[in-house]
Amino acid sequence: MFFRPDAATLAPLTVLTTDGDTVPVGSAWSEGPAVLVWLRHFG
């Protein structure tokens, strides 16, 4: 299903790196375009 969410409200939400550091999702596209793939899980 195709959709167009609002990246402005998504950007400040935070996730964790593999080292446990907190990063805002919007950092992915702060310096250039980004492809973000949300996985079902790690399995």
Binding site: A11, L13, T18, W29, G32, V35, L39, R40
Partner: protein, 139 residues
Amino acid sequence: MFCREQVAGFRSRAAELKHAGVKLVFIGNGTPLMAKDFQAFMEVPELPVWTDPKRQTYRHLGFKRGLFSVLDLSLLSYAKRALAAGFRQGKTQGDPVQQGGVLVVKRGGEVVYGFASATAGDHPPVDEVVAKALSAAGR
């Protein structure tokens, strides 16, 4: 199995995306250690694998979740596809009834492509996503 299939698909285009200045990020919902193990298993040490254990980004994006999202007849054809390509189900590390999706976002925050999975294995074509990303990069 589907997560592995999806990551492998994008992994095969990672160099092309990097060359175009496109950042490729995977986001799951287990612990950081699970993310690190998955990154190593999938042999993508150079690619960010982030995790959202509270699934706040999943909720924000409205990605499907629940038993009915994994009990879908189309799952059978997706499983056949993934199995034929050699992918096998590993131990589930994260939410077993959460679905995912894909976004392509231009610098500055314009979403140029968005796909939300209806069920497990419902993935957008990698070629389609990469084409949108390269276009977003001006290629």
